[in-house]
Every structure is written in structure tokens, then in C-alpha cells.
Symmetry: D2
Subunit: 164 residues, 4 copies
Amino acid sequence: MSVNKVILVGNVGKDPEVRYFENDRAVANFPLATTERGFTTSSGQQIPERTEWHNLAVWGGLAKVVESYVKKGTQLYIEGKLRTRSWDDKDGNKRYTTEVIVENLQMLGRKSDNPSSTGQAANTGTSAAPQNQQPVSSPPQQSPTQYSNNDSNEGSPEEDDLPF
Amino acid sequence: MSVNKVILVGNVGKDPEVRYFENDRAVANFPLATTERGFTTSSGQQIPERTEWHNLAVWGGLAKVVESYVKKGTQLYIEGKLRTRSWDDKDGNKRYTTEVIVENLQMLGRKSDNPSSTGQAANTGTSAAPQNQQPVSSPPQQSPTQYSNNDSNEGSPEEDDLPF
Amino acid sequence: MSVNKVILVGNVGKDPEVRYFENDRAVANFPLATTERGFTTSSGQQIPERTEWHNLAVWGGLAKVVESYVKKGTQLYIEGKLRTRSWDDKDGNKRYTTEVIVENLQMLGRKSDNPSSTGQAANTGTSAAPQNQQPVSSPPQQSPTQYSNNDSNEGSPEEDDLPF
Amino acid sequence: MSVNKVILVGNVGKDPEVRYFENDRAVANFPLATTERGFTTSSGQQIPERTEWHNLAVWGGLAKVVESYVKKGTQLYIEGKLRTRSWDDKDGNKRYTTEVIVENLQMLGRKSDNPSSTGQAANTGTSAAPQNQQPVSSPPQQSPTQYSNNDSNEGSPEEDDLPF
DNA sequence: TTTT
DNA sequence: TTTT
């Protein structure tokens, strides 16, 4: 009945904060920046570049990957869903925060950018690609840059356990 | 350098509010609900269904389409980007609101669901479909269910003109 | 290191064919049509509407959902990945077929469009929606319109068991 | 009425071939590899890593960007749509080829990976990010790594002019 | 082969 | 505030 999907490619704004809860459950929180290029409208107006900051929350096993490999400046591809939480501020006002609950995460860039990597060169394959057809290839190995949360119980429910 | 993309399928929570500005520029604002099904975790915990509400903002020509065809209850597919705006509340606190700036919108459901439609019958093409291959077809016309904002100056810049 | 994602909203071209294998493993295959509207280029050229046909393959539990609820004409949202298979034709030429392996599927449209539905009424929640903010809602039950394959062993491996 | 969307992150398999047509219209064609990690099923079966090759076609201004900046090994994010073309082979059989018509393309990786770049460091921002809120930032510079085709007459129509 |  |  519904789809709630976010796809971001951007740079991590600061080192993730990772917190652990009962049952070894973890969350990593960090900001991710996406930047839209500036441009000139048809009417000649100059629109400057604009950076958007997204609050990411990464649960479970993925949080540990984040703890080990993601830091300020890292370029990431993430897939997730939107979640808005509410809380009461010191003045008794209802406040809202929108986060992206990350469900899939990829570290981008060449091997040499990922300290975690073995430094091996980027895969390009060597299979012949006859006349614009799709060869079915079989390649080498890969370093730890792809991760996914499919527990389906990530992110939401236990959030109520959290000291937000 | 960046990707900031949101894809939602959900139901409109109330009739859109459309506002017009100088130069016939328009915005439509309305809430869209997405609902995640409840489930039972592997440890037997019951997780209830959860509805997420998204604030949508639709600019330009798309806003007029929204004005004409979208209303409370309409099922929509939308594609857009995240935008967080800040403002100062009555207590002088900085407040943040996250919206989805809609760039592409599709009305879902059968014709009979869209009051706008003429209820006209359908179908075309008679090409054979041999062994799981993809024939290339060639068809007729279409009614108003697909719309896209590619002005590239939608949504952001003139936001500063707005009485938010 | 990689993302391979397809998102389609379209109509089912014919009733799915479902095949069962050992261990009660199932696949459903069917074509899905997406249609791009025709338009007129800036130079005045008329570009007609164009329909694209996609070969979908749905594995596992999702295949059974397809068997029960999806038929010719059904409007679907699907998420999946691209897969190109090769085979040798009668003339000894290598042939390629590209399919979309479905990982998530949603039936679109109102209840009345889904014969599977119980036609039951709806709605919940009474939370106020102050000034464009996102309330957090709390809900009931759901009918069979959302399904997902997260076995992670869907689609690919056992394909080798198949009589393609 | 329809959505036909592909999102890929992968590595370019060989240097793009760029062809020019009348009116300075260009296409770039090249293969992109995406790789799924291998895994072990719950029943203990070892599923090896698998690489999928996608045929990309990039039209118009984007093709020139590709010509200048994309080469074998480049890591790309692309967004596009599926297109299946048919042709008759030497034995008189109808053959089908599925391509991804690219509509948006991003070069990934650090500046230093993009020969086009000025070698400047990756942006991370320095704005404070109070209590998990979304600061509205104001950013630095950007190099030529984001490009989009929104002519809406890209890719399809003039394809008929082509010597495929 | 769908749907508009 | 939607929808199932």
C-alpha cells in the first residue's frame, strides 16, 4: 500500500556517534550533506549552490559497520526511509525532527579512499562486450563496502527504548 | 557530487492548499501518509502498523495539476527531494521543518478512481510476445495522470519570497 | 560497492505464469508495461507515446502473492534489480534476455480494484496537524497489498535449477 | 500513469564510444558493472559474487560530459530508464537488447579520482549540528561531477536516425 | 500483452 | 490528516 524511500549520495558531516543499548543493539547517528549546484534561471536570476543536511540513523549490524568505516568526509550512498519523531522542548512545545533511517549503505570512492580496504584496484572486468550486448560475466572479489539492513525490525520499534 | 531523492507512494491526508504568488507562480502543500505494516519480530514482539506523515510542497505547473486533480484520499506516487527549512518560533527558538519538494507526480489507481477522468475504455497493440522477449510497441494518447517539474528552478530559490 | 535498482509503476500485460520447483520454491513471470507520454519537441517534432514492456520474475513467497492477487491489467509498483541471462538459440547464437527480479511489490489502486480485498472500511487517527508539522500516528491492521522479498537468496542462485 | 526508473552505482567496463549525428547530437555508449556480494544461504549453500553488466546510452549534452570525464574504471551513479530495442540478426531472427537510457549521472569518488577536478579536498562542512537537528548550511565549492538530462527529448525519438 |  |  505504501512506499517510503530515500536515496542519498553525499558526504558525512562529522564522525558518527554510536550508542549501544541492551542486547548489544546499536545506533549510529550522523549528518550527511547533499549539495545542489547553483544555476542561472531563464530570467537571468543567479541561484547559488545549496547544501542540504540530513540526519541519518543507522541501526543494528549496519551501525557497527558505520562505527568502523564511516567518518567525517566519507562519501556514501544510502537508501532508507523517512521518519519523523516528536518530543517536547523545554518550553513545553511539541517539536519534530525528521531523520532518515538507513536500510542500505555503500561506501563510495576508490579503494584507496576506504581505510578499511585492502587497497586493491577497482574492478572493471575483462570480459568481451560484443556489439552492445550484455555479457554475463564472472568476476573477482570485493572489499567491505556494501551493507544492508533487512531485519525488518530495525529502526522503529525499539526506538521507544531510547533516551531521545 | 550529490543525490537527494525521495520516492513515496501513499494517500493524501487532506485537500491541498494552493497559494499563488507574483508571476502566476504557485505552490501546493499537503500531507501524504505512508503506512508500514505491523509485524512480529523473531523474538515474538508484536510491532504495530505505523503511519508516517510527509509534508509535500509542489511548485509551478505541477501545483496547478494538484489543484485540479489531487484531493483528500488520492493515492499518489511522487518523486522529489528533501528540504529542511528553519524559522524562529514565538519563544525565539530555532525550529526546523522537513518537506518533500515534489518533482514528479503520478496519480495512481484505475480511471474510475480519478473523478477527472472520462472513464474511457482502453487497450491497444496486438503484437505477439515470443518466449519471454520484449516486443516494441506503439500506442495512442494519454489522460492527465503523469506530470513532472523539470524547470530546475522549482521549489528552492523563490522560497525566499514566501510568507513562511 | 554497487547498486542495481529498478523502480516501475505500470500495468500487468497478461496473467502471470507461476511455476513450482523442488522445496516448494516458486517463480512467477509476467510482462509489465510502462508508458511514456508523447510530446512535442521545441523544434515542433511530434513524439508519440511509447510503451515499454518489462519481463518480471518474482521468486519465493512473493510469487505466491502474485499467483493469488496479480492478473492482467493490475496496476503495480515494483522494486527490483536487473538481471541479464544468456542462452543459445536454435542457430547456435548467444542470445540475451534482460529481466527485472522483483524484490518488493505493491498493488496499487483503491480496494475496489483489488478483488482480493474484503472491501472493509478504513481510517484512524485524530491527531491535530499544527502548522505544517508532522504528527506521529498510531494505527490498526492492513490488507494484503504490500509484500517484500528479503530472503537475499531470492532470484539468483537457484535460477540454475530452472529449465530456461 | 507510469514510472520507469533505474538507479545504478557501478564501474565503467570500458572507455565510452561516442558518436555524433546531425545537429551536433551525440550518444555515448558504454558498459557498467554492478556486483552483488556472495553469501551463504540459511541452508548452507555458498552463493558466489555475481557481476551484472548494463549497457548504458547517454544522449545530448550528457554524452559530451561522458566523453570528457568518464573512462574505464570510473565509478558512477546513474539514474535512467529501461529501453528495449529490437533488430533482425543475420539469420533473420528478431533480437532484443535492453539498455539503460541515462538521465542523470554523477561521478563518484574523491576529487583526486576525477582527472577533471582541481584536486581540491572533499567538502564536509563545518556548521554546528545541535541536538540532532538539521542545520541549514551554506557551503563551499563544487567541481563538475553532477549532470542531468532534462531535455525530455533525449534518448528516444531520434534513435530512429541511428545506424543500429 | 497493460493502462491512460 | 490518508489508506489498507
